[in-house]
Amino acid sequence: MTDVQKDQGKSLTGLKKVRRFPPEFSILLVLFGIILVFEILGWYFIGQSFIANKQRISIIVLQVAVTGIIAIGVTQVIITAGVDLSSGSMVGFIAMVAASFAQVSTNDRAVFLSNGWVDLNPLWAIAVGLALGALLGAVNGFIIAKTKIPPFIATLGMMVSARGLAKWYTLGQPVALLTDSFSWFGHSFPIMGFPVPRPVIVFLIVAIIFHILLTYTRYGKFTYAIGANPQAARVSGINIGNHLIKVYTLAGLLSGLAAVMTAARAESAQPGMGVGYELDAIASCVIGGTSLAGGVGRITGTFIGTIILGVVTSGFTFLQVGAYYQEIVKGIIIVSAVVIDQHRQNKRRKVS
């Protein structure tokens, strides 16, 4: 046994070890706090429980599954000190294209691909959606890496163009009457009496994969390094441009996945799908502790952040609060969650 192994568990120099809570701890507390408030208000005003309701839980998670999938891709983008504004528009465009690969033939409405391309295996639509997402993401990444313009501008451009593409694709017509085998992906199935929507399962799997990716792989380590200090990352031998292309490609891929899920759930696609999703996704990230300055953030935090947004929306509906008030308060909650988290972080890492 070497000295190092013997010393493990002890400190390097005999200094007192600091106890560290996982950074998600306080966000989780915020989530519990919000649930508790709704629970109390629920009993007081409505006379029933907020959380002990299978249907409601199912709706909460279904509502956030799609923006959650996007938020996971956006989390890694924000960790590199970037931002992705294009995800919502990409959902719109890709949903249109993917849905057009999933139309049924017995149909008196327009079929947007030629007649041989109907009643396809749903994997076609999914593959097309993911590939298109990855492609658009790669375009984002390529522009950012090669022209060195701020990610805000590059993805703003993509946001506007992709929305235009979504409308152009069918000249504004919705794509309806999709195959059952495609819509299957958007439906629920029961687990122990709980109706579990399939997009939620996808969201969970994606979250786990990306958590592993960011925590245990070189890809993840380099992502944090680039956000924390791009110059030091460069001197450490990291090819920043190539890495950013990968990051934005993966973010685009997840936008594509979210688009497929959206279309499957709605059993149709419209050019206006996904409006504002990019902002919900960014909100989930920052509520979950991801710093817009880069270098800080975790998928677990984003996951909780996503759930918080879902709980808040569902809670207001439950309390029969008007839609206008909902949005007003949602904005306040986003800002306060980040203020609280930042305050806590500052206290934690005081520089000696």
Binding site: T2, D3, V4, Q5, D7, Q8, S11, L12, T13, L15, K16, K17, V18, R20, Y216, T217, R218, Y219, K221, F222, Y224, A225, G227, A228, N229, Q231, A232, A233, R234, V235, S236, G237, I238, N239, S291, G294, G295, V296, R348, R349, K350, V351, S352
Partner: protein
């Protein structure tokens, strides 16, 4: 206890109590999570003197200064300014009470002019309440003239050299009419001529009755400029002496608590084959026609003034700024280095000059900081980091380098400068380099850590690593190098062998 605002009013009325000590702190204690930074220390500053503060990195000097400058509030202890108890709550408080700090990392706004930087928040106004630029300009001119500083008040600070920026910081501090000036290693980035100028300014300030706290790691400066010296070690106050009555060795002994027998222990090791051969290396507009060889086991020192192109040569060798022309050969084979990644594949490592800008990932922990470079080529299996093995090796490396930290999960920003530097060295040693480029490896580092780093570099040379070491410190270059290459204005002006090299010869070549 007097509130800062009362104190400020008293000061403005001119009725300043005349105490022997302009500043007295006693029994000051400050704890950070996991670290007792200051353990009941004391510090007294007489008016009209320069009081040097010495100690290894992590001794508590910077923490104490930040308390005096109002950046930190102490956990306990008394704080007297001109004999009156006071409690400062912010840097602004300190500034308004006549305590100004000139930061190690300069805190000026690059895109603004010298005048704007100096008078920010206190801009002179004209009758309509708008900023009067002409008034600001003439005030700045007066101020700079009084200090014998030759800088145009209207140039953007970002275009000034480090030395000039520091002069602007000093002018700013003086413009507050401060009684206490804190200088944290002001000479670390200055050339000898600039140091001389700085010292003349300090002497003038001293003559005006100001008290100057001077943090330094350079022993020679202590005897040049300081009247008194206080030594700290591990967050404790050790002693205060008159600089006329102590010797260099006494101070070192107080600082490290042990004898340091040899400062620059480059051992004689067998020098092998030519490892790296550079011919006609040119980066347009920066340096030209640089040609040299480095052998296995050899330490090639690069000397030259700040701005001579020394660091640029290193950056080009490592692919940070690829060369315009010229060839690089390793082991006799010509190779192309267009990026740091390519340089690393060829067994090179590069410790950069600027710890904060191009070295540390300040938001990440020590573990991540240590492993970031080696992940490029090792410890990765199918994209997955072999963390157990890597953590073990990183920790062993950190222990060898004596990084002072509770554990590897500590954020690197909580470490002192010297310990951060050790982490960065660990980062590169993990990559097992065959060619090691060090740019100012011991800048801003205490004596103990310095000796450790020197010993380590010497050991690496013993293992056949070819070392290129850039340093502004003459004794370091002279002590460590087998050969010294001197650079002046982007050209190599000469090579000196270890046995013929001395300070005068280097300076002649470096200034031509």
């Amino acid at each position: 206890m007097v509130s800062p605002s009362t104190m400020k009013a008293v000061r403005e009325s001119g009725a300043v109590p005349n105490a022997e000590y302009v500043l007295e702190v006693e029994n000051v204690r400050k704890e950070f999570p996991g670290v007792l930074a200051l353990d009941n220390v004391q510090f007294k500053l007489r008016r009209g003197t320069v009081h040097a503060l010495m100690g290894e990195n992590g001794a508590g000097k910077s923490t104490l200064m930040k308390i005096i400058a109002g950046i930190y509030t102490p956990d306990s202890g008394s704080f007297k300014l001109r004999g009156v108890d006071i409690r400062l709550t912010s840097p602004l408080d300190a500034l308004e009470n006549g305590i100004a700090m000139i930061h190690q990392e300069l805190n000026l706004m690059g895109p603004m002019t010298v005048a704007e930087n100096i008078w920010i928040r206190r801009e002179p106004k004209n009758t309509w309440g708008f900023i009067s630029h002409s008034e600001m300009r003439s005030r700045t001119e007066d101020l700079l003239k009084r200090l014998n500083i030759d800088i145009d008040p209207m140039v953007e600070v970002g275009t000034l050299s480090v030395a000039n920026r520091q002069m602007v910081e000093i002018a700013k501090a003086v413009s507050f009419n401060s009684d206490v000036l804190i200088m944290d290693e002001p000479t670390s980035a200055l050339t000898e001529k600039e140091v001389a100028h700085l010292f003349s300014i300090i002497k003038a300030l001293k003559a005006q009755g100001k008290g100057i706290i001077y943090i330094t790691h350079k022993m020679s400066e202590l005897f040049d400029i300081a009247d008194e010296v206080s030594v700290f070690r591990d967050g404790r106050y050790i002693a205060t002496k008159l600089s006329t009555e102590v010797k260099r060795d006494d101070i070192i002994r107080m600082m490290v608590g042990r004898e340091i027998t040899q400062m620059f222990p480059k051992e004689t090791v067998p020098i092998g084959n030519v490892k790296l051969s550079v011919k006609g290396l040119t980066l347009n507009g920066v340096f030209k026609d640089v040609t040299f060889d480095v052998r296995e086991g050899e330490i090639l020192g690069i000397a030259g003034l700040v701005g001579s192109g020394r660091s640029n040569i290193a950056e080009t060798l490592f692919g940070v700024t690829p060369a315009s022309s010229g060839t690089i050969e390793i082991d006799g084979k010509q190779i192309e280095i267009k990026s740091p990644g390519m340089a690393m594949k060829n067994g090179m490592a590069f410790l950069t000059e600027d710890r904060k800008d191009t070295g540390c990932f300040l938001l990440l922990d020590i573990q991540d900081n240590t492993q970031m470079a080696v992940l490029q080529n090792r410890y990765v299996n199918y994209g997955f980091v072999q963390q157990a093995q890597l953590s073990n090796d990183s920790q062993a490396m950190a222990q060898t380098l004596r990084v002072r930290t509770p554990d590897m999960q500590e954020p690197i920003m909580n470490l002192s400068g010297g310990n951060q530097q050790k982490v960065l060295i660990a980062r590169w040693l993990l990559t097992k380099p065959r060619i090691l480029i060090l740019d100012e490896p011991t800048r801003g580092i205490d004596v103990g850590a310095k000796a450790e780093i020197h010993r380590l570099v010497s050991e690496l040379a013993g293992q056949g690593v070819a070392v290129i070491m850039i340093s502004s410190e003459m004794p370091e270059v002279l002590g460590m190098s087998d050969r010294i290459m001197v650079v002046h204005e982007g050209r190599v002006t000469g090579f000196l062998d270890r046995k013929d090299a001395d300070q005068v010869k280097i300076m002649e070549l470096a200034s031509h």
